[in-house]
C-alpha cells in the first residue's frame, strides 16, 4: 500500500476526535457522584431555609382556614398540620360581622394617596438634587437620610399634639401626609440616585436632536425612569399600607381604622382571642402586597439604562 502521508492523516483524525469525546465523558462520570452530592446538599440547604422562612406564613394560612370551634379546641388529634376541616368561615366573619371592608378601603385611600404624593414630590426633588447645581445638595441629602432613620415613635407625640390642635384626630386623610415620613426619604434617595445615573449625554442627545427642555424630560428622562418611579411607588405603598404606630395613635373609632389597626381588635372577645379571624384578615391584607412585590420583581431597578451607552 502506497498511501501518502497526507491521505493517511485524514482518516486518523476521526478516531482521535471520538477518543477525546470519550475522555470528556469519562471525566464527567468520574466527577459525577461528587457533583450530585454537592447538588443534593445545596438543595437540602435551600429547603431548610425555605421551611424556616415560609412556615409562619403557612401557619397563618392554616389558622385562617379553621372554624371557631376547631380553633378553640387547639391543635391536636385530627386537627394537625392540616386542619381537620377547611372552612372559609373566618373570612366570612371578618367581612360580615366585623365589617373588614371599611378599614380595607381606609387603608387603600391612605396608602394610594400617600404613594401618589410621594412619587410627585420625590421625583421632582430627586431630579433637582441629581441635576441642578444646588448649593448644599449633599447636606440636604444627608438630612433626608437622617429623617428616614428617625425613630417613628419619637414622632408620634409631637404629631399627636399637632393633629389635636388642628382638630384632625380620628381622621384618615391627615395620614396621607403623615405617612410621607416613611416614604419620602426612601423614595427621594432612590429616585435621586437613579436620575443621577441617567447619563447626561442622553438628555444632551435629545436636545441636539431638536427637543426642548420639557420634551427632553417627557420623552427621554421620564420613560427611562419609569421603572425606578414604579419601584419607589411600590415601596411607598407597602410602607404606608403596613403602618400601625401612627394609625394606633391618631385613630380611635373603628369606622376610621386602617386595616392593620382593625385586625388587632378583630379577634378580641371577652373570653378568647380568635386568631383564626386575625389570620384571615392578615391573609387578606397580604394579598395586595404580594401582588405588588411580584410586579416589582419584573421591574428591578438595575440594568434599566442597559444599552444606552457603551457597556
Amino acid at each position: 500500500m502506497a498511501t501518502t502521508p497526507a491521505s493517511a492523516a485524514l482518516p486518523a483524525s476521526t478516531p482521535s476526535s471520538t477518543e477525546s469525546a470519550q475522555v470528556v465523558s469519562q471525566w464527567r462520570k468520574s466527577r459525577g457522584p461528587r457533583h450530585l452530592g454537592n447538588q443534593l446538599l445545596f438543595y437540602l440547604g435551600v429547603l431548610v431555609v425555605l421551611l424556616i422562612a415560609l412556615f409562619p406564613f403557612y401557619w397563618i394560612l392554616r389558622t385562617s382556614l379553621e372554624s371557631n370551634s376547631e380553633f378553640v379546641q387547639g391543635v391536636g388529634g385530627a386537627n394537625g398540620i392540616i386542619p381537620a376541616h377547611l372552612t372559609l368561615s373566618s373570612y366570612i366573619d371578618d367581612f360580615t360581622q366585623l365589617h373588614f371592608l371599611t378599614p380595607l378601603i381606609n387603608s387603600a385611600i391612605v396608602a394610594l394617596g400617600c404613594t401618589l404624593v410621594t412619587i410627585v414630590v420625590a421625583s421632582l426633588a430627586g431630579y433637582a438634587l441629581a441635576r441642578l447645581p444646588i448649593r448644599g445638595a449633599g447636606v440636604i441629602l444627608t438630612f433626608v437620610l437622617l429623617a428616614g432613620f428617625f425613630p417613628i415613635l419619637a414622632l408620634v407625640g409631637p404629631l399627636f399634639l399637632l393633629l389635636r390642635d388642628l382638630g384632625l384626630l380620628n381622621n384618615i386623610y391627615p395620614l396621607i401626609i403623615i405617612y410621607l415620613v416613611y416614604t419620602l426619604p426612601l423614595a427621594t434617595w432612590l429616585l435621586r440616585n437613579f436620575f443621577g445615573q441617567i447619563p447626561r449625554e442622553l438628555e444632551e442627545a435629545a436636545l441636539v436632536d431638536g427637543a426642548t427642555r420639557l420634551q427632553t424630560l417627557r420623552k427621554v428622562v421620564v420613560p427611562v425612569s419609569i421603572p425606578a418611579v414604579f419601584t419607589a411607588g411600590i415601596l411607598s405603598f407597602i410602607l404606608a399600607w403596613n403602618d400601625f404606630a401612627f394609625a394606633l395613635s391618631f385613630l380611635d373609632t373603628p369606622g376610621h381604622f386602617t386595616a392593620p389597626l382593625a385586625i388587632v381588635v378583630f379577634g378580641q372577645s371577652q373570653f378568647a382571642t380568635y386568631y383564626n379571624r386575625i389570620d384571615a384578615a392578615v391573609v387578606v391584607i397580604t394579598i395586595p402586597i404580594a401582588i405588588l412585590v411580584l410586579i416589582a420583581q419584573r421591574r428591578i431597578v438595575s440594568g434599566l439604562t442597559a444599552g444606552s451607552l457603551k457597556g
Binding site: P199, E201, L202, E204, A205, A206, L207, V208, D209, G210, A211, T212, Q215, K219, V220, P223, V224, L304, T305, A306, G307, S308, L309, K310, G311
Partner: protein, 398 residues
C-alpha cells in the same frame, strides 16, 4: 450645507478655569475638520460650545453664516455623535434614528423612508426593531451615526465617536465615517485625542493645547512643517526625536552641535529658514522624525552623521523601530508622549563617557542586521530637519 466659524471663542468655567482661549477656526462647507489634542486641552469644550451644550464666555460662533451664540441646540440644526453613543434605551433602533424627525413632525412615511435609508448606509437593516441593549458596541456606534445622518443637518459634530471601539473595528469605522462624510458633504467637526484618526480622517487638522490653537493645516503639512514644538512632538508615532543643539558657523557653513557631534545644516534648510542666521551661537531645538534617520556608514562626503548606541529593537515586520541613545541634551516637551504611550524608555547603558545621553527612535529597514548594545552610525536626512526656538517653541523660519 453650511460652514462652521469660531471667532475668538473663549470659555471660562465658573471656577475660573480657562478651557478655551480665543479660538479661531473655520470649517468650510463639506470639510472634515479634526480637532485633536491631549486630554483636557479644551477640544470637547469647543465642540460642546458649537453644539450649544455649553455656554460661550466670549467670541462668536456662526453656523452657515448665522450667529448661534444664544440659540438652543435645537435651533442650530446640527447633529452630534457622542463618545458613549447616548442611545435612548427605551426606543428601538428605528425609533432612535427617527427621533429627531419625529420631533420635527415629519409624516411617518417620510420618517420610515429616511430611517431605512440611513439603516442601509450603515448596514443596520436587520436590527431596526431591537433595543440598543441587545446590540454590540460596533452596532451601537452605527446607530449613533445613523441618528446623526438621518437629520441631513447643517453640520456634524463628533466627540471621539470611535474611542470606545476595539482596535480592529475602529480602523474599519474610521474609513466608513470618512466615506459617509464625503458622500454627504456636510461640514464636520470631529474631536479626537488619537492622532492616527486625525491624520487619516481630516481634510484639515487643528491641534489644540491648553485651550489654545497650535496649528490648523492639512495632515501632511502638519506632519512635515509643524508650527511649534508641541505640534512636532504630538503629531507622529513614534514621536519626532527632539534634542537641544547649538547653531555654529564654521568653514562657511552652518552646523548644529549636539553634544560632541555636529551635523551640517544644508543649503536647502538655510534657504527655507532665513531666520536661522539670527541664532548663531545660540541653542535651538532640533527635531528629526524617526523615518529620516538611516543606519549607515561614515562617508567622507557626508559630514552629517550621528553616533548612537542601540537600546532596544522592535520589529514590526515591515520595519524595525530602533531605540537608541545619543550623547545630546534631550528635549521632551509636553505632548511628546501620546496618550497610552509608555513614557519610560529603557535605561541607558551609557556611551562610555560620563556625558548625558538622550533617547531617540529610528525606523529602519528590517533587513539591516542590528544588535542591542551595538554602536551604530545614524545618517539623518538633513533636508527634513526641524528647528524651533527654545523659548517660544515656534518653528524657525523667517
Amino acid at each position: 450645507m453650511a460652514t462652521i466659524e469660531l471667532d475668538q471663542v473663549t470659555k471660562v468655567y465658573p471656577n475660573k478655569t480657562q478651557a478655551v482661549t480665543q479660538l479661531n477656526l473655520e470649517v468650510a462647507d463639506g470639510e472634515f475638520m479634526v480637532l485633536v489634542g491631549p486630554s483636557g486641552c479644551g477640544k470637547t469644550t469647543a465642540l460642546r460650545m458649537v453644539a450649544g451644550l455649553e455656554e460661550i464666555s466670549g467670541g462668536t460662533i456662526r453656523i452657515g453664516g448665522r450667529v448661534v451664540n444664544d440659540l438652543s441646540p435645537k435651533e442650530r440644526d446640527i447633529a452630534m455623535v457622542f463618545q458613549n453613543y447616548a442611545l435612548y434605551p427605551h426606543m428601538t433602533v428605528a425609533e432612535n434614528i427617527g427621533f429627531s424627525l419625529k420631533l420635527r413632525r415629519l409624516d411617518s412615511v417620510e420618517i420610515k423612508r429616511r430611517v431605512q435609508e440611513a439603516a442601509q448606509t450603515l448596514g443596520l437593516e436587520g436590527m431596526l426593531n431591537v433595543k440598543p441593549a441587545s446590540l454590540s458596541g460596533g452596532q451601537r456606534q452605527r446607530v449613533a451615526m445613523g441618528r446623526a445622518l438621518v437629520r441631513e443637518p447643517a453640520a456634524f459634530l463628533m466627540d471621539e465617536p470611535l474611542s470606545n471601539l476595539d482596535a480592529k473595528l475602529r480602523v474599519q469605522m474610521r474609513a466608513e465615517v470618512s466615506r459617509i462624510q464625503r458622500r454627504l458633504g456636510v461640514a464636520t467637526l470631529y474631536v479626537t485625542h488619537d492622532q492616527t484618526e486625525a491624520m487619516t480622517m481630516g481634510d484639515r487638522v487643528a491641534v489644540l493645547a491648553h485651550g489654545t490653537l497650535q496649528q490648523c493645516e492639512p495632515p501632511q503639512i502638519l506632519y512635515d512643517h509643524p508650527a511649534n514644538l508641541f505640534v512636532a512632538a504630538f503629531i507622529g508615532s513614534p514621536a519626532m526625536n527632539l534634542y537641544e543643539g547649538e547653531v555654529e558657523v564654521a568653514e562657511g557653513q552652518i552646523w548644529l552641535r549636539l553634544g560632541d557631534q555636529r551635523i551640517l545644516v544644508p543649503p536647502s534648510q538655510q534657504e527655507a529658514r532665513p531666520g536661522l542666521a539670527a541664532y548663531k551661537g545660540r541653542k535651538v531645538a532640533m527635531g528629526i522624525r524617526p523615518e529620516h534617520l538611516a543606519i549607515g556608514h561614515e562617508l567622507p562626503d557626508n559630514p552629517s552623521v550621528l553616533h548612537a548606541e542601540i537600546d532596544l529593537l522592535e520589529s514590526l515586520g515591515a520595519e524595525i523601530i530602533v531605540h537608541f541613545r545619543i550623547k545630546a541634551d534631550h528635549l521632551r516637551p509636553e505632548g511628546a508622549a501620546a496618550e497610552g504611550e509608555d513614557e519610560t524608555l529603557p535605561l541607558t547603558i551609557g556611551l562610555g563617557g560620563s556625558d548625558k545621553t538622550a533617547p531617540g527612535v529610528a525606523r529602519v529597514d528590517p533587513r539591516v542586521p542590528l544588535k542591542v548594545g551595538e554602536s551604530v552610525t545614524l545618517v539623518p536626512d538633513t533636508d527634513h530637519l526641524q528647528l524651533f526656538d527654545l523659548e517660544t517653541g515656534a518653528a524657525i523660519y523667517d
